[in-house]
C-alpha cells in the first residue's frame, strides 16, 4: 500500500531524531514547499511567506525532540506553522507593515490591486479636494485614502480625535456637494 505524505514525513522525522541527516534534509525540503503553499494565500504580502517558512524550519529544528512517533506528523507541524505565522503577523502589524506590499510579483498585482486601469477617473475628486483648505485636505487624505485611524491623525496633526472625525466628515460632505 502506498504511503501518504504524512506517513513518509513521520518516518523521516523519526530517522532525523536518530541523526539521519539525509532523511532530515528531505523532510525539511518538502516541509518548506508545503508550508509555503499553505500560508501564502492568507498573506497580504507574498514576500512574507519565505520569512515565515524560515521561522517554521528553525522552529521544527528546535522542537524536533517534542515529536513522538505515536502521533501523526502533520498536526505537530501545523501547530508550529500557526504559531510562527501569528507571531510574524503580530510583529508586522505592530509596525504597520500590513500597509505595504510588493510590486515585483505581477500575479499578485493583478489579483490584489484593483482599478489598475482607472488612473485619472478620480480627477474630479482630486480637483474638488484641492479647493479645500490644506489642513482639512491632509486630514481627509490621511483618514480616507491612506487608511490611518483618527487617533493616529490626531497625534500627527496635534488635534483631538473628535476634531479629526468632524473635519473628515465635513470635508466628505463638501466633496459630495461639489462632485455631485
Amino acid at each position: 500500500m502506498s504511503q501518504t505524505q504524512g506517513e513518509i514525513w513521520k518516518e523521516w522525522a523519526v530517522a532525523a531524531q536518530k541523526g539521519d541527516k539525509k532523511a532530515y534534509n528531505n523532510l525539511l525540503s518538502e516541509v518548506a514547499v508545503y508550508v509555503r503553499n499553505v500560508i501564502v494565500s492568507g498573506l497580504a504580502n507574498p514576500d512574507w511567506a519565505d520569512d515565515i517558512v524560515q521561522d517554521v524550519l528553525i522552529s521544527v529544528h528546535k522542537s524536533l525532540k517534542t515529536y513522538h512517533d505515536d502521533r501523526p506528523f502533520k498536526p505537530w507541524l501545523m501547530a508550529i506553522v500557526g504559531f510562527r505565522r501569528t507571531d510574524f503577523l503580530r510583529k508586522h502589524y505592530s509596525k504597520r507593515q500590513d500597509q505595504r506590499t510588493s510590486l515585483e510579483d505581477p500575479e499578485f498585482l493583478t489579483s490584489h490591486v484593483t482599478n489598475m486601469g482607472g488612473e485619472g477617473e478620480l480627477k474630479d475628486i482630486e480637483n474638488a479636494l484641492s479647493s479645500i483648505p490644506e489642513d482639512q485636505q491632509r486630514v481627509f487624505k490621511m483618514i480616507k485614502i491612506e487608511g490611518y485611524t483618527a487617533k493616529e491623525v490626531a497625534q500627527e496633526m496635534g488635534m483631538s480625535e473628535s476634531a479629526v472625525k468632524v473635519s473628515a466628515h465635513r470635508t466628505q460632505k463638501k466633496l459630495q456637494k461639489m462632485v455631485g
Binding site: 541523526g19 532530515y24 525539511l28 525540503s29 514576500d47 524560515q54 524550519l57 525532540k65 501547530a79 504559531f83
Partner: protein, 215 residues
C-alpha cells in the same frame, strides 16, 4: 527575489541538516511532570512543617466541607500541572481538551465558595499586610519556578495557556498549603489573602508569557 529566497531557504535547510545531532524525544506528559510534582510536594511539606500546621487540623479533617475544599483544589493542582506538561508539546499531543479539566474543577470550587459565602457570610477583612501573603508567596515561589523550568525544556505554541495553567496549578497548591496552616476559615479571608497574591502573580506571568516561554 524568488530565486534568492529559494537559495536562502536551501542554505538554511543545508545548515540545519548539517547541525543535526541524534536527540532523545521528550518523555510523555505524565512521566515528565512526575519529578516536578514530587519536588513541589516535598517542598510544600517542608514549608508547612516549618510554618506549622494549624492546631485544629485533625478536627477540620473530620468536616466534609474542609475535606472537599482540599480535595478539589488538589485536583485542580494536579490537572493544571498535567495540562501544563501537555502544553510543552506544540500539538499538545492531541490533548486539546486538557485545559477544560482544571478550569471546570476551579469553576466548581468558585461556585462552592460563592454558596458558602451566601450561607456563612463573607466577613471581608480589612486589607493589610498579612502573614498569609508571605507564606503564600513562599509556598508558591519554588513550585512556580519548577514548573517554568519544566516548560522551558518543551516548546509551547500557546504561551498564554501555559502561563494560565502554571498560575492555576501554583495557586491551587498554595491554597491547599495555606488552608492547612492558616486557622481563619472565612471566605473573605480566603479570597483576599489566599488567592489575591496568586492572581497578581499569575497576571504578571500572563503579561510576560510570550517573553517567558519563547523559544
Amino acid at each position: 527575489m524568488g530565486k534568492e529566497s529559494n537559495q536562502s531557504i536551501e542554505d538554511l535547510i543545508g545548515g540545519l541538516s548539517n547541525d543535526l545531532k541524534p536527540i532523545k524525544p521528550l518523555k510523555n506528559t505524565a512521566l515528565r511532570i512526575i519529578p516536578c510534582m514530587g519536588t513541589c510536594v516535598l517542598y510544600m511539606a517542608l514549608v508547612v512543617s516549618w510554618i506549622g500546621v494549624r492546631p485544629d487540623l485533625m478536627i477540620k479533617f473530620s468536616e466534609v466541607s474542609f475535606v472537599f475544599e482540599i480535595t478539589i483544589m488538589s485536583a485542580v493542582w494536579l490537572s493544571a500541572a498535567l495540562c501544563a506538561s501537555c502544553l510543552c508539546f506544540p500539538d499538545m499531543r492531541g490533548h486539546h481538551w486538557a485545559p477544560a479539566v482544571p478550569i471546570t474543577l476551579f469553576g466548581v470550587f468558585l461556585l462552592w465558595s460563592t454558596l458558602r459565602a451566601f450561607q456563612e457570610g463573607v466577613y471581608m477583612p480589612e486589607i493589610h499586610w498579612d502573614h498569609c501573603f508571605v507564606e503564600g508567596l513562599l509556598m508558591g515561589g519554588v513550585p512556580g519556578l519548577a514548573m517554568t523550568f519544566s516548560a522551558w525544556r518543551g516548546n509551547t505554541t500557546q504561551p498564554l495557556w501555559m502561563a494560565a495553567m502554571t498560575a492555576l496549578s501554583v495557586s491551587a497548591l498554595g491554597y491547599v498549603g495555606l488552608r492547612v496552616t492558616c486557622m481563619v476559615d472565612t471566605v473573605g479571608h480566603s479570597c483576599i489573602y489566599h488567592f489575591i497574591p496568586y492572581v497578581v502573580a499569575g497576571a504578571c506571568l500572563g503579561m510576560a508569557a510570550r517573553f517567558v516561554y519563547r523559544w
